[in-house]
Symmetry: C2
Subunit: 205 residues, 2 copies
């Protein structure tokens, strides 16, 4: 562990930018972003308004950084998959495994992302990035169907929604350090999703 | 279509009990149960408070009837499965297919149920019924694993959560009358979930 760079040490001692973000995201998830006031945030953080604004100029700026935390990680998984030399089914495996890791590693940030409904420019931009991500995955499902690796009788867009329905449901019940191991969970999702989609004629993995 | 019985015709003409319930549930889903006041309800319904109370004595009574609508239907699916003469895998098929039907048929009621967090006695009773339902399904997954029909390497409780993660995600995107047909969707979920869980040694369906 190296000490935090000086630029994250501004504001009240004991509250660097990352800590402010984490506490704010926890509060947004508890009571909803719209229902959380700046006064709620400063109260929970034990910071003055000007100390909070020192880190983040507005509630929307906080939201944007929090949503980026989840979206950047999901898009990195997509890039990993696209640079994988394997076929479309293998690339989907990289995405499913990677997405489960992002959810378990960055649970509060993904939880916040999944609750975004498009009530502001920041929220609409996040929804647009989620849509692009879904479209890229849906395209891969389609290619894997064309390659004969995935069953052709499930619509690619519906399959993508169902796969992410399963993955995203983790935010409802997965708790870090709980009875369910994150790595094992990733394998379980992979087994269920990709075996479920596998074409009858495809070789068994 | 027969005309509604006289007992549902009380209150202001044009607002029978079922209509009041449907409008209230739509409003709860829009703005949250806790955030919806009786004044919001009477405003949306165009009813006086006393006309509303004529149908339902309280907001909690409305919630209870709404949650029963979803839970009664899900428990009926469980009874159908338990009276099926087939093996555990076949009973699970009945449950998955039936649960998708309940979600698509009673979408607003299930949406409301899935948002319940246990903030009152009515909500805690609903959560207890959801838990019993999940435990019954989890037990069936376990039996199907013992019978060699489902892969034994996924924990039964985790598999149940993942299956219902997939099914429950329908409330996020399925819209009645939209591009995705409800029956076709039921078949897709069935193919993905049960093929995904199928043991390698089990006969292909």
């Amino acid at each position: 562990m190296t000490s935090a760079p000086a630029s994250t040490r501004r504001g009240r001692p004991g509250h660097d930018r990352a800590q402010v973000l984490a506490v704010a995201v926890a509060l947004f998830n508890e009571q909803g972003f719209d229902a959380t006031s700046v006064a709620d945030l400063t109260g929970r953080l034990g910071l003055t308004k000007s100390a909070l604004y020192h880190h983040f100029p507005s509630k929307d700026a906080l939201l944007q950084v929090a949503l980026d935390e989840a979206l950047d990680a999901l898009e990195a998984v997509l890039r990993d998959a696209e640079s994988d030399a394997g076929d479309a089914a293998q690339r989907l495996r990289v995405i499913v495994r990677g997405a489960v890791s992002v959810l378990t590693d960055k649970l509060p940030y993904v939880t916040l992302l999944l609750r975004v409904r498009g009530n502001s420019d920041v929220e609409r931009a996040a929804l647009a990035r989620r849509r692009s991500f879904d479209q890229a995955v849906s395209h891969l499902v389609h290619v894997a169907q064309d390659e004969g690796m995935l069953r052709p009788d499930v619509d690619a867009a519906v399959a993508t929604r169902l796969i992410f329905g399963m993955i995203n449901s983790l935010v409802e019940w997965y708790r870090p350090g709980g009875a369910v191991d994150a790595d094992e969970l990733g394998e379980d999702v992979l087994r269920m999703v990709l075996k479920g989609l596998q074409a009858d004629s495809a070789p068994r993995p």
